[in-house]
């Protein structure tokens, strides 16, 4: 850590991990409701618990992105953050607004939350992932503007690097496309059409810019490879991301009342969406192979390589699995979608956040470069437990999805939804058990922050590695 103001990142990282725990606990609750339909009913219906699970995910990832930005922007710009006080203030506002909203989901019937926050004045609630009351959405905009001003002015003041520029573009895009969440026409086709401008253009668009720039930053720091090389890769990757991903939005426009031509545009372009993810994998492994030094923070390198692989598998491969229109005709809105969602979010966005936290946290806590060996061993156990769990969760949901498609949509006598669900409950059992392993992995991961905290830092095997 070179600049005092980078320290604000720590707050954001701690909050991110705390909310991550909440996300997983609620994941286990709704996973249980798939098995025992009356679990916690009627006190906590599935829809409210699911909103907690998904909204906590989104909020903690954004906390993580903000923390990453507050850490890496000053370091890249070679200057202190212009307004560290604003970053602290916004942290508490964002946390309070987020917590209040989540508590509202848990303790109030959703309709009461809508009434309490006067949804009727500007109805934006009740759409998937955008369940937040309108007032919360407005709060998010305020926080985002203050955040962008803070890092934007810091970038303007200091050294301009490609990483900062790409990160800034990604974060600006995040804020800009969020504005479509305020557009909610009665006409369902347009509601859905522009809803995807938030959801798709986030996760298959601008968020990938954030992912790419953070990954590039970590790789520069941990491998010592020349910045020019890394920046060139970064440009090529994000170019492919947006070239394929923007028109790739069309894979959501197959069955919602939009015209047939989207089946061609959507299929062709989204079939190419794995390309940038594959390039990211090649990039990460290439840079680590060409490293000029062995960084003592092995855990951070593991997370960086892990995100490159898992993003490709989850977003790339599992996305491709059901992206072609003739396939999607059968799989749309089934457990196949859920399978893809879990591995894609974990691989791309959870892991990049944990990679950044892994890299930055030791420095924020006063270490020279890395945690002790023992702490890193715990962290890597957390990595493997969580990562292997998500692989199996994805496989079980994929199996459930294939059966669901067959029973409900493909066989000669299509079964009603609930009957089909009762036939595939075995896979929900397996998913829930695997979810418990994930939770254990998360506990081990969190323990790694406390284990070996007083022991000496890990050392590198050799000072310099021979460069090829």
């Amino acid at each position: 850590m070179k600049y005092q103001s980078q320290q604000v990142a720590k707050l954001y990282f701690i909050a991110a991990i705390g909310l991550f725990v909440g996300q997983i606990l609620f994941g286990l609750i709704i996973g249980a409701q798939y098995i025992w339909g009356d679990f916690l009913f009627p006190q906590l219906p599935f829809n409210q618990a699911r909103a907690v699970h998904t909204n906590l995910l989104i909020v903690w990832l954004i906390f993580g992105f903000m923390g990453a930005a507050y850490y890496l922007v000053p370091e890249e710009a070679e200057t202190d953050l212009v307004m560290p006080w604003l970053a602290r203030l916004m942290f508490w506002i964002f946390l309070a607004a987020g917590a209040a909203t989540i508590l509202g989901y848990i303790f109030l019937p959703y309709a009461d939350l809508a009434k309490l926050t006067h949804n009727e004045l500007w109805p934006t609630m009740g759409r998937e992932f955008l369940e937040q009351p309108t007032i919360t959405k407005l709060g998010i905009v305020v926080v985002a503007l203050a955040f962008l001003a803070n890092i934007g002015l810091t970038i303007l003041k200091g050294r301009k690097t490609v990483i900062n520029l790409v990160l800034m573009m990604g974060l600006t895009g995040l804020a800009v496309f969020f504005l479509f969440s305020f557009f909610n026409p009665t006409n369902l086709v347009w509601d859905k059409y522009y809803w995807w401008w938030v959801v798709h253009l986030w996760v298959e668009g601008v968020w990938e810019l954030i992912l790419g720039s953070i990954l590039a930053f970590i790789l520069i720091k941990t491998t010592g490879v020349d910045r020019e090389v890394i920046e060139k890769w970064l440009y090529v990757i994000i170019a492919m991301t947006l070239i394929t991903g923007i028109v790739g939005t069309g894979h959501h426009y197959y069955w919602i009342g939009t015209p047939e031509f989207w089946q061609w545009w959507g299929s062709i372009f989204s079939a190419m969406e794995p390309i940038p993810f594959f390039m990211m994998t090649v990039f990460a492994f290439n840079m680590v192979n060409k490293r000029r030094r062995n960084h003592p923070n092995k855990a951070a390198v593991l997370w960086a390589l892990g995100t490159a692989v898992m993003a490709f598998l989850g977003a790339g491969v599992w996305g491709f699995l059901h992206t072609l229109a003739p396939v999607n005709y059968y799989t749309h809105g089934t457990q196949i979608t859920a399978a893809h969602g879990h591995m894609a979010f974990y691989g791309a966005y959870v892991m990049i956040n944990l990679a950044m936290i892994s890299y930055a946290m030791p420095l924020l806590r006063g270490r020279e470069a890395a945690n002790s060996n023992r702490s890193q061993v715990w962290e890597m156990w957390g990595f493997w437990l969580m990562t292997i769990s998500i692989v199996f969760i994805t496989l079980f949901l994929t199996a459930a999805g294939i059966l669901q498609v067959y029973l409900q949509r493909f066989s000669d006598n299509p079964m009603p939804f609930m009957e089909a669900q009762s036939k595939i409950v075995l896979f929900y059992d397996l998913r829930e058990l695997t979810g418990l392993v994930f939770l254990i992995g998360l506990v081990v991961y969190i323990a790694s922050f406390f284990v070996g905290a007083k022991e000496a830092e890990a050392k590198t095997d050799g000072e310099e590695v021979v460069t090829a």
Partner: protein, 145 residues
């Protein structure tokens, strides 16, 4: 990557490619706007349907159900529920109104939302309107959704 391929070239591909494909996306959106009115059943949208959509949203129905395949996967698809229920808004209303307060032991159950008759009518009319949206290949594949 080969030395002949410079960072400046990569940057230009990024900016040029993004601009080009975003404009293409806008053009396709524009084209969509001209075609959708023939299939979106907008003529069925009334004040009652608008009210119904608000009832739908304020009870977070999408948190369990899918609607045209989007939403949660915990409860049945509702884009075609009007047809599945024999083209009857009364059947939809009766179903929602009769959900047991404390659920069904061991099974998934829809909450009892205590909707007024007007709200029930509105949400049923909304679902009827949705069933009239012309989806490609008449998605969903079967009446079961």
């Amino acid at each position: 990557m080969a030395q002949a391929f410079t960072k400046a070239m990569a940057r230009n591909i990024f900016y040029g490619g993004t601009a080009f494909f975003f404009l293409l996306f806008l053009a396709l959106t524009f084209q969509t706007h001209s075609v959708v009115p023939q299939r979106d059943n907008h003529q069925a949208i009334s004040d009652l349907v608008a009210k119904g959509k608000q009832v739908w949203e304020e009870h977070d129905c999408i948190g369990c159900h899918t609607l045209l395949g989007e939403g949660a996967y915990f409860a049945p698809e509702l884009g075609n529920v009007y047809k599945r229920f024999g083209n009857s808004t009364d059947a939809i209303k009766a179903f929602i109104a009769s959900r047991p307060e404390n659920g069904v032991p061991g099974r998934r159950s829809m909450p009892q939302f205590h909707l007024s008759d007007e709200e029930l009518t509105a949400v049923a009319e909304f679902l009827k309107y949705v069933s009239g949206i012309k989806t490609s290949r008449n998605w969903p594949p079967t009446p079961q959704g």
